[in-house]
């Protein structure tokens, strides 16, 4: 079980050149939560995940960990990289064998004492024992996704961010990935999933947020609905 964490982001803004991607956005996540992030292409979903993971610097953002302000971006980034893990839509496999990929992750986690047995357990958890000495680059998309999740298990983050984790996967790989995500959630890891396919994650997620017009709005749950800010503005003008 991991340490409880409450991460709050507010007044988050990000732009690429003159293109404003996120504007004055608010986003919260806590341990044991699983948030599904939806939105149209270009809505800024991946950008939001990359900011939360510390890989992308926002123009402006106020972030607090467990209600304590995080300070400068430099300190914040360090904290985010330590607590949060981002899984790319197409996970990058380090060169060498599948096992080497897991060994790399195990070596970086100071809490792991016995690396060999931890890697063995992660392989067993992901159902990849038979492929452990195979070149990671030659694995299928579903297998790479499982390797990425096994690496995440060894990393043991407080928040796990996934970008379209089941895109282009067959039903069997999807099942397996879902099972692994359920197990992650049960350990208390906060999960944020970006997906265009909300039905797949309907049982897993505790909250759904729709990213629209560069801002978030609750997309389901008690008393909430998708807010189309464009329509609101149009009706105000009329």
């Amino acid at each position: 079980m991991i340490d409880a964490l409450q991460l709050n982001l507010s007044r988050l803004s990000k732009k690429y050149g003159r293109n404003v991607v996120l504007d004055n956005l608010k986003f919260d996540i806590a341990s044991h939560e699983c948030v599904l992030l939806t939105g149209e292409n270009g809505a800024g979903k991946t950008t939001l995940l990359r900011i939360i993971s510390g890989l992308e610097k926002p123009e402006h953002c106020e972030i607090s960990f467990n209600a304590a302000p995080a300070g400068s971006w430099r300190k914040l980034r360090k904290r985010l990289l330590k607590s949060v893990m981002y899984l790319h839509q197409q996970p990058y496999m380090l060169s060498g064998s599948l096992r080497r990929n897991l060994e790399y992750a195990a070596r970086l986690n100071a809490a792991i004492v016995d690396q060999e047995s931890s890697v063995d357990r992660a392989l067993e958890w992901a159902g990849l024992e038979a492929l452990q000495f195979q070149s990671a680059a030659s694995l299928s998309g579903g297998q790479k996704q499982r390797v990425a999740l096994a690496r995440a298990r060894l990393r043991d983050p407080q928040i796990l961010l996934l970008d379209e984790p089941t895109a282009n996967l067959d039903s069997e790989s999807r099942e397996r990935t879902m099972q692994m995500l359920y197990e992650f959630r049960d350990t208390g890891t906060a999960i944020v999933i970006v997906s265009h396919d909300p039905e797949v994650f309907s049982d897993l997620t505790t909250r759904r947020i729709h990213l629209h017009d560069r801002q978030t709005s609750p997309a389901d749950g008690p008393g909430s609905e998708v807010i189309d800010l464009d329509k609101v503005r149009q009706s105000q003008q009329q």
């Binding site: 510390g54 890989l55 970086l108």
Partner: protein
């Protein structure tokens, strides 16, 4: 034609009879060039990394500048350093002119742009996700840097071999900065130039054969590592 054949036979004889002077020249060449490339690799990798992944003002200008340096002739590097290191020059007090150090500095400057540009291309063609994956797995910036270098090791090896091939065979800068002093700064290319001017073709061909063998060895090594890279990425 007879001169070429007889000189080549004599060259082989010189090489395999263990002619001390020939092998001393080979030794100086390898020592200076190896030290020069070893000194150039760390800054070149750091510069290439910042050019590939950095986001700072003047980045594109620097990339263009290093690409331009690729085509600067060795004699121009030699001339510039000669002016700087000569007694009247701003660095004259160091008394480096006509030393192996001066030759090494010249070769350092010659191979640096090759290493930077080729490493930069390798880094740019590499998936940026390699860096991000390492960072999100908990690697610090230095560890992630070495992880990325390992991921592009075949491209880096090609850069290293290309840089080494360039400096071990260059004559202009070594001649101007080393002065071709026997037993001290005479290396393979400057010795070939000297022996040819004296009409001692056998010595020139013997040293040329060493360079040719080295070029073959480097290319064979490059083919080997690139072959391994394509089979097992």
């Amino acid at each position: 034609m007879d001169v070429l054949v007889s000189s080549t036979i004599e060259a082989f004889h010189l090489l395999f009879s263990g002619d001390a002077e020939i092998w001393e020249i080979v030794g100086i060449s390898f020592r200076v060039s190896t030290l020069a490339i070893m000194a150039a690799v760390p800054p070149a990798l750091i510069i290439a990394f910042f050019l590939a992944y950095g986001n700072f003002f003047g980045r594109r200008f620097l990339i263009s500048l290093f690409n331009t340096f690729l085509s600067v002739p060795a004699v121009v590097i030699g001339l510039t350093l000669f002016i700087l290191l000569s007694r009247q020059g701003p660095m004259g007090d160091f008394k480096l002119l006509f030393t192996q150090t001066a030759m090494g500095i010249g070769q350092f400057l010659l191979c640096l742009p090759i290493l930077v540009c080729m490493a930069h291309v390798s880094l740019q063609s590499a998936d940026r996700a390699a860096w991000e994956t390492a960072r999100t797995l908990g690697a610090g910036p230095i560890r992630a840097f070495f992880t990325v270098l390992y991921e592009i090791r075949f491209g880096l090896m090609a850069a290293l071999l290309a840089g080494y091939g360039r400096i071990i065979s260059e004559v202009g800068a070594s001649m101007m900065l080393g002065g071709n002093i026997a037993h001290y700064t005479r290396n393979i290319p400057t010795a070939i130039a000297l022996e040819t001017s004296k009409g001692a073709f056998a010595e020139g061909i013997a040293l040329g054969l060493v360079l040719l063998f080295l070029a073959f060895l480097l290319n064979a090594l490059l083919q080997y590592v690139q072959g391994r890279g394509s089979i097992n990425p």
